[in-house]
Structures are given as C-alpha cells and as structure tokens.
Symmetry: C2
Subunit: 666 residues, 2 copies
Amino acid sequence: MTKNKTSATPTLILTAAHVLTCDDQMTHYTPGAIVIADDVVVTAGAKDHILADYPDVEQMDLGQKVLMPGIVNAHTHVPMTLLRGLADDLRLDVWLMGYIMPVEREFVSPEMCYLGTKLACAELFRSGVTTFADMYYFEHEIAKATAEAGMRALCTESILKFPAPDAPSYDESLAYTREYIQEWKDHPLIVPGIAPHAPYTTTPEILKASRDIAVEYDVPFQIHLAETQREVADVQATYGDRVIQYMHKQGVFEAKTLAAHCVHVDDSEIALLAEHNVGVLHNPTSNLKLAAGVAPIQKMLNAGVNVGVATDGPASNNDLDMFEEMRLASLLAKGINYDPVALPAKETIRMATINGAKAIHMDHITGSLEAGKRADLIAVDLSPVHNAPSFRRDPNGIYSQLVYASKSTDVTDVMVNGKWTMQNKTLTTLDEAALLDEAAAFAGKVDSFLIERESSVRRKLVAIGGVEYQESFEVQAKAKIEDTAALIAKLDNKEQITILKQKHYRQYDTYFYFDAPETDFLRLREDEIIGEDGSTEDFRYRLTLIGPSDEQMHDGSLLISRSRYIAPSTHTLRFYREYFRPTSEHTVTKDRLRWRIVYHGVEFAVNIDNLTEPTLGHFLEIKSRTWSQRDARDKAKVMRDLLTLLGIEKDAVIARHYIDLSQDAT
Amino acid sequence: MTKNKTSATPTLILTAAHVLTCDDQMTHYTPGAIVIADDVVVTAGAKDHILADYPDVEQMDLGQKVLMPGIVNAHTHVPMTLLRGLADDLRLDVWLMGYIMPVEREFVSPEMCYLGTKLACAELFRSGVTTFADMYYFEHEIAKATAEAGMRALCTESILKFPAPDAPSYDESLAYTREYIQEWKDHPLIVPGIAPHAPYTTTPEILKASRDIAVEYDVPFQIHLAETQREVADVQATYGDRVIQYMHKQGVFEAKTLAAHCVHVDDSEIALLAEHNVGVLHNPTSNLKLAAGVAPIQKMLNAGVNVGVATDGPASNNDLDMFEEMRLASLLAKGINYDPVALPAKETIRMATINGAKAIHMDHITGSLEAGKRADLIAVDLSPVHNAPSFRRDPNGIYSQLVYASKSTDVTDVMVNGKWTMQNKTLTTLDEAALLDEAAAFAGKVDSFLIERESSVRRKLVAIGGVEYQESFEVQAKAKIEDTAALIAKLDNKEQITILKQKHYRQYDTYFYFDAPETDFLRLREDEIIGEDGSTEDFRYRLTLIGPSDEQMHDGSLLISRSRYIAPSTHTLRFYREYFRPTSEHTVTKDRLRWRIVYHGVEFAVNIDNLTEPTLGHFLEIKSRTWSQRDARDKAKVMRDLLTLLGIEKDAVIARHYIDLSQDAT
C-alpha cells in the first residue's frame, strides 16, 4: 500500500483485477483497489485490504480490467489533427514548405486551434491519454478547448523568429505568451508554458528571452532539439557546437526544459541532458516517418535522463495512438541495437506514465497512482481475442500484454482529475459526432484551397513564395554558327557597337512540363559564372514559369509576347521535382559567352552559346526585351541590321527555342 | 472496369464510397461497386456503371466505407496464439530454448493446433485478413480448423532434422506431409505445402527431399531464410555460401518457394530471389522484437522481388494485426534508409494484398478484386475519430489513411470465398466466447507447468536437456601451502605414490545462487586445458547443480554427501544468467595442477591450486569420490596418511570450499 495517505475524505473506491501504480517500485496489486477523494488519489492497495480499511465508501468494480495511471503523451501539436493525412510519403521540405506551412498560413486561426484540440481530445481519451504536452499557436484557445474537454495538458506557446500565424513578430509572441501564462497559471487542468520552436527557427536572443519568461513564471520551456542530422550540422556550422551544448551555452537549461526528439545526440550531450534534468520526448513514429532516424533511448535511460513517449503532431504520425508509440518504442530499441532485452515492456509503461510526467515536469501532479496525485487513470480491457490467452507466471507479463498486444481501442474508461471523461467507450465531455462534422467541413475547405492551387503550376509557385510577375515582349533571333572566333572579332567593332559588359556562364537548365494549358513550362536555371581564369566565381539559381506565348516572325526575328513568373530558386531540384510533379522533364546544358551591347541606340543581349547537352553545337543568339509590342517591332528592325553586320543571312535565322531544338535532337 | 468478366451468374453487388481493386493499375473507384457470383468476383467498377449494367442483382451498400481485397498475412504460425505473451523481452536463445521449445515439447498436440488455429482465425478476421500462410506442426488439424472457420490459407507442414512434436524423425514428417498434401490438394479454401524449417534446422538431404515433394505435387515450399546474422555466418562457415546461394545450390528454387525474413541478404542474393520468383515474407515486428534487424525491402521491391507483409507467429509479435505490420513496414523503410519517400502507403497496401498473394504463390486465387478471383474482401470504416478528417485532394490519400491512421479494429466486414465471416464486427463462423474460454484453460495448464518448473532450478535445468544425475559421497581435504615446488617434489615418491596422469587447467567457475532450499548452487565451469608449452590445448564447459549437502569431519577430512546434476554447458554464460535468473552470482578463477594418483590402493585426485580471482594464494586439495558412505570413511583414513606424507599437519586442514573462502575474502 502506498505510504502517504491524504487527509481528504474518500469518495470512491475503484477495484479491478489488476492495479498498476507506476510508483517507484512499479507496485502491482492483483486484485487491487484505488481510493479517490474527489479529484485526488488517497491510496492504492490490495483489494481486500482497501475494502477492509474503507468499508463505507462507494465502490465501482472494473472486473477483469487493468486499472493504471492515465498515459502521458509527452509531445504533440493537437490542432494538427485537422491536417492529418493532408500530405504523406513526402520529403520533409516538400511536406513542410510545400504543404503544411502554406496551409497553416491560410487556415490556422483561433477557431481552427479550438476545433482541432477538441477533436484531438476525443482521440486522446479513446487511446487512454489523460495528459498531453502541446506546442502550437493560439495556445490560449488550445488550453480553453482542453479544459472544456476535461483533459489535462501542458500547453506551450510557440515562438518563431519569423511571422507566426498568431503573431507578426517574436516580440508580439513573447508579449502574448506572458499574458497567456498569467491567465492560465493556476488552472486545475492546464499548465501553461513557452516553446521557442527549434534552434533553426529561433535566435540566441529568442532563446534567452523565452528562458527568462519560463524562469520568471516557473513554467516549462519546450523546444524541438537535434531532430535531424542537418540541424546538427547547421548548428555546428553556425555556432561551433553540437545542439545540446549550444542550448546549454544559451542558459536554456536554467528553465524546466523539455526537449522533443533528441535523435542525434552524442554521449556528452546525453550527460548534459541528465545533469540538467532536461526531459526528452521520444517520438518514434514521427522520427521514422519523416526519416529523421532513431533516438538512442536506451542510452538516455541508462544515463538517468527522464524520457517520455509521444506521438508528435498527427500530421506526421498520423494519429495520437500512444499504444502504437509504446509498442514501437520497445520494438525499435531492440531491433536497432540488436538487443532483444532492450527497453522491456515494464520500462516502456514507466516511460509512458510516470517518466513521461517527469519529462514534462508534471510528475508532482500526475503519472502514477499514489497518494496525493490527481486522480488521472484508465481502465484497459485485456479480454479481446488479440490479447488471449493471458499467462500469469511472469509478474511482468501484464506490462508485456499492454505493450505488445493491447490496442488503444481496448481502453474502456478514462478519468481525469477525478472526473470520468470516457465510460464504456462513450465520451462524456465531448460531442464526437458534431466534432467530426466540423472537421469534415474544415477539411473540405482545405481540400478546395489545395485542389485549386494544385490545378495551377502558377499558384503552386506562388504558394512557396518570392515570386515576381513580368508580362513582356521579346524579340529574338538565333543562328547556327561554325566559326565563333570570326563572330567574336566582328563584335569588336568599336564604331558601331558599344560593349557594356561581358560575362561567361555555364548554364544548366531543367525544364518541367505539365498537362496544363495555362503553363508553357517551368524552368530551373543554374548559372555558373565563370571567371577569366576559367574557375567558377559564383552561382545563381532562378526559377522561371513561362506562360503560353504568342509568337510571330517579324523582319526575320521572332517576336514573342508572354507572361513570366520569376522566383529565386532556394530549394533543390529534387524539391521542385517532388513538389511540382511535372509530367515530363528535359535538360539543356550550354556554355554561354554573353555580351550586353548597344547598337544604333538599342540595347541587345548577344550570346554565343555552345550547347553541350544535348550536343547541338554553337549558336549566335540576340535578344531584347521590352514592355511594348510596338517597341519590340522597332527593335526587330534594328536587330535585322545587326545580324547583317555580324554576317548572318536572313534565311539562316532559326525561329526556335533551344529547348525545342534539344527535344528534336533527343 | 476490369476487362475480363466471368460467365457466372451474378448473385450480389456490393457498393461503397471507395473500391480499391489492387489490380495492376491499383484502380480506385469512388464510389465503386463489386459484382459477385457466389464465390467469385465477376467485375469491379464505378458504382453508376455497375448498377446500370446489372440492374436485377441483389445490392448491399457499405456506405462510406472502403471496400478492398482481404489482407494476406504472408507468414505466421497460427497455433502460437496459444503461446502469446508466454515469455517476452528475452534473448532469442533464452526465449526459444528456455521457454518456447520446452512448452512446445509438452503441449503441442493436434488439439492444441486445432484450438490455436480457430483462435487465430477469430483475430485474423477481426483485422481484415482473408488469407494467411502458416508453418507449424499437425498442419492437417490447422487446415481443418481453418476450413471450418471459412478462412483461406496456405498451410505448410514443418520438417526438422530433429524430432518434432508431430513426428519422431524427418522421414516420418515427410511421409505425413505426402499424405496431408494428397488429402487437402483440391480443397476450395486450403492450399497445402511443405516447410523445411530453416537452414540451421535441416540438412541438404531434407531440403532436396522437401523440394521433390513440392515439385511432385506442385505445392508451395516455405522456409525461414537469412533471419539473423548468426545464421548467415553459420551457413557460410558450414557450406561456404551465403544463405540464398546455399539454397539455390540445393535446387530449392525449383519449387514455388516462399522465404520468410530475408533480413540479411546482399544484392546478389536479392537478384537470385528475383530471378527465381521466390516470394519474400517481411515480418517487421518480429524482426525488431527478436532483434534480428530490418530487411532491405525497398531494395527487394526495386529488384522486382514479390514481397509480402506478415506478422510471424503471435509468440514473437505478439498479435496478428496486419494494420500494425503495414504501418511499421512503411515507417521502417523510411526511417532506416533516411528516405521519407521509401515504401509509400500505396506500395504497402499492394504488398499486403496482391503482392502478398504473389509472394505466397496464390495470386491466381486471391489478393485483388478482379474478374475470376475468389470473392475475398473486407470493408474498412474510415469514420472513427482517429482517422478524421479525410482529405481527397491526393488520390493516394486513401492508401495513406489505411496505412498510417486506420486500425485493425476499423475493419467491420469480411468475406472469404463469397461468404461473410464477419458482419458489423460480429464473427459469423466462430464462437469467440467459447474459444476464449478454451484458450484460458490451456494457458492455465501452461502456467502451472512453467510455475512448477520455475520454482525449481533442477526442473529448469532438466527442461533444457542433457542432464545426468549423481548421488555421491565425497571425501576431501584442503590446506593452504606456501612452497608448491616442495610439495610437488614430495608427490614424486615412486615407492608410495603411483601417478596415473597429470593435467594443467585454468578454471573459470561461476556460481549462481538462488533463494531455493533444495538447491545449494549451480556452477558453470569453464576449463582451459593447458599444454606443456603453456598454450591452451582444449576447452571443456560443464554445468553442475549441487543439491544441499550433508557435511561432517572425519579423521580431519571433510566427508560430504550430496546430489549433483551434471550437464554439458552448450549455451553461453549470458544465456544461463538470463534463463536461471540467479539471486546472486560469484566467480572463482584458479590455475590447477592436477594429479590422479593411487596411494595405498586408493585412487585420489590431488590438486595444487593457485586461486587468482580473488587472490587467495596456493592450496593443496585432495579428493576422492565414492557411492558408499562406508567406503568414504575408509578413504578418509587413507587420506589422513597421505596428508602426513605430504607434510600437512592435521590442524592445517581447512574444512571449507573454495567458493566459501572466496566469499569470505570479497
């Protein structure tokens, strides 16, 4: 029997075939009983003893079920239930920057956060969770929905160095967070906190300011740390430290810190986490699904780090099922370390209950069935066929049944803070049907938004930002040449031609084609700027979306009218390929000598191009761009003279683009 | 609409919001319909078209659900449902040789296989499986129970080189298998087959004889291959080949082969598997749980290998939940390869349906909803809160919902061979409550057996085999000595002492202690036999269980009566530690010079021991063993004289065991 009893008057005794306390000794009573006084646990013990000690208290028998502490989902983003399954099987950058962030920019609102949280609470209750740790935007709405659902949570407000859905700047986020913490500080169900998002989305100033708020109000400080190898490399490149060392130097660990992920941490970092009582939040599904890797959990546990288990947000999971996470945590620890005794089931149950509570700095409130803790508990039915039969030889068999064979759907009853939130699989605080209807309506809007965007390459380009629009007229002429030296000599005609500048490029062009009438193609151009000594001096990446063009011949030149959208190309070719999903793709590589000249008062670009892939040989190309069709026609006439000056006959002019010549050739 | 229609008369049309056919193009009709004629699929198509084409056929609408082919669980051992959770979080050898095999020896019977199969069928239907591939004993009973349940299965009979629960020799197993195949060959639900267990449990002769039977009857040949690194190393050491090459050389791939696991296969082996159309059965949970590793599934798929997904037996999983396996298959492929686009959900659904059917050589019967296939299908409900909301922008989103968010408990209806086996989550062919009762009774018997065994170190020792019992009387004397050279010189007394042989050992003794009155200790002795040049000539490992002894002094010597159980020590110290779980453990290391001598017609062992760990110095030890107490007393008198001859005074004799001296010292 647990040693300390509270002085409160008992109001309810729960009895069951198994009571797992998740206290320090992992005491297991079979059969067992829990005595509750309103919202607090009075004591846990053997059924016979408890019934003898408390003869006049109302009893409720849960039969053959397992009564245990409610599960702690130690890291999630609950409103993202509303983005579940939005986009999957994508690389992190395509997923995040192509889908999640554009949709968040458009749809994250107080109403969305409130609805998403209630939907999440329904799912969380159904899988036996009584406490979760959240990190998102509009945390006030999340706390409100959580409290209304009768759920317990640590709700930490995100701080970013760039504009967030709920604040245009981090100063405003910090101000919002102060106000939010003050409002919720003494709530019986909610613990407020602050969450600078990650090393790569914050600055040392933001980290310190956030830590100061956490210390001032004595609230938890949550952050994503060491999730990917790239993050580790970037922090090392920028600050010269590994991620945990960097955080330590910012004084972050002076706060009650929770660190999500910690996939890529070495032994010295693990020692730092242990020394500073930093809770680690292990998200095995999300880390696999986004291909971050597998966190060294067994090492952390050996070092004495408090590790909790978590689902992460349902957009990268895609659910909030802690039974799946527990199972995966144990399986992965074994399989990855080639050690079948790693993370045994009992240890995993501890991580999902009391150690999770420790990791999120809430173990004084919840995580075990011990005197003085809040009455947060669940009943799990072991009778379904997928868990039959039950062996009782090994006292740890009960943990093994829960971790390796039980499903979240075996949870039948949930109590938070002394109040039932689910009984016999019926939710008592939430209108699930109404929530599902509202969620469907929300998804319909997101679907429409994305379907409209996806139907247009232009809208997809705009969605990832930085686009500049041009509507222009262009006049251009092209001719195959054999003797480039002779042509260059003719350009050196100081009487008629003024050379403004000269450059040498190597150009790698990738053309994406689509089955879309409004789009001609999307071109990714990589320019290597070649110096006089032949070395690469600089790079330039540009993305150009070309609309359908209107082309006509005029004075032997091609007159082109078209719309162009130009954006800096900040992602990789692979990103654009996976994001835009072109129906076909072609590449053209050329060596370009470019002159910008003035001839008869008109500015022209003159290119001598050597097409190397496919091998098409040398071309002269002359171009000029303008915003007036009439001006373009005038320039075409001047261009005719220039071509003659350079020795190009009228019938030698080719009215084709390189990409078309290239496709003819391949 | 699928191209081929059968000529059978349609009897039923099923309609649903989504019909996934899992045909070559992964055609998805939304809404869709399936036309069935008794036990066969007539066609699948868009709902409107089907209803127009088949106006007079009975209709059944499954509403918003997903209608899809039944899932193929491509490798399992169904009767092992009855061993689920028997022993977990153990190393493979402790798990298998300490628990599973001793229990199987005792409990595997036709009745156990029949009951375990029915229990498994209940669980399998509940998780949407309509076909499984089994490998166990008494396959006739398994086939019978499966057919009675209305389930489809490939049932392959195990062949082992040592006695199996259903046959004392492999000859008899082969004869049983022939008879079994003949009996079940034309059954509408059962495909019989043969299953030599694994490379390490068979011989080249068994492999060839099994292949001959598989080829003769044109039935599948199932085997476990390349599951662990150790198996690969052992096959290489024995046969000089990697596992798949070894199998290929035995001609195994002339049969329709299914290979479970293939965790440790290289590129050349993958090429061989692809070339010979060997189906690979991927068991992600089992491979992690037993710490075998992670199979290179994406590589195999790229090479064109037919890969199915499977649960393996429920003793190493611990359930038969294919939704968990699908999810884990996709997650692992991504996480292990640091590639978030690996094994996308659509590919996983393909693996769990049509590719699984191909892998087990049953795709002519099942695995897709196409004209001519058997009507094996399931309905999955996407409405539960853990799968809300549903996005419809991405046509592959439906597969993502099934793999990443659906649970096996979302399966509502199951049809096998045109007959409903589950409707609205109610099983129609099995009495689940009765099965659960029978399973509980079975588990009770196993629990009693193991609890009794576990209560006794002796029974645990006997359970792992090879034990020999001795009840003996021993007379022994021991004395601390300083000058070993002088003592050795005294032994060289040819008049009185005949030296029979002399040996030099280094002995490493580990003593396990237990809180068990019947047991004194269990000793693991490792002898290094040292040659004249000081090198180690040989090793010997022995396990000795010493019962409580009766000790008395007689003529200055210790007279000991005790029982001993001796067994060859064939496992590692780690195995014995994990298997016996001693309450404490002590080690003694010594250098032993041993003479076997005859003195006054009595044979004695004379040891000069240098105790090096703990450092206790040099001792003389004289021993003789007999089966008579009287003889022991007579020998004690002779021993007194021998001690005097060797210069040992009566009061210098120590009546203690080394282990006791050692414990005093530490």
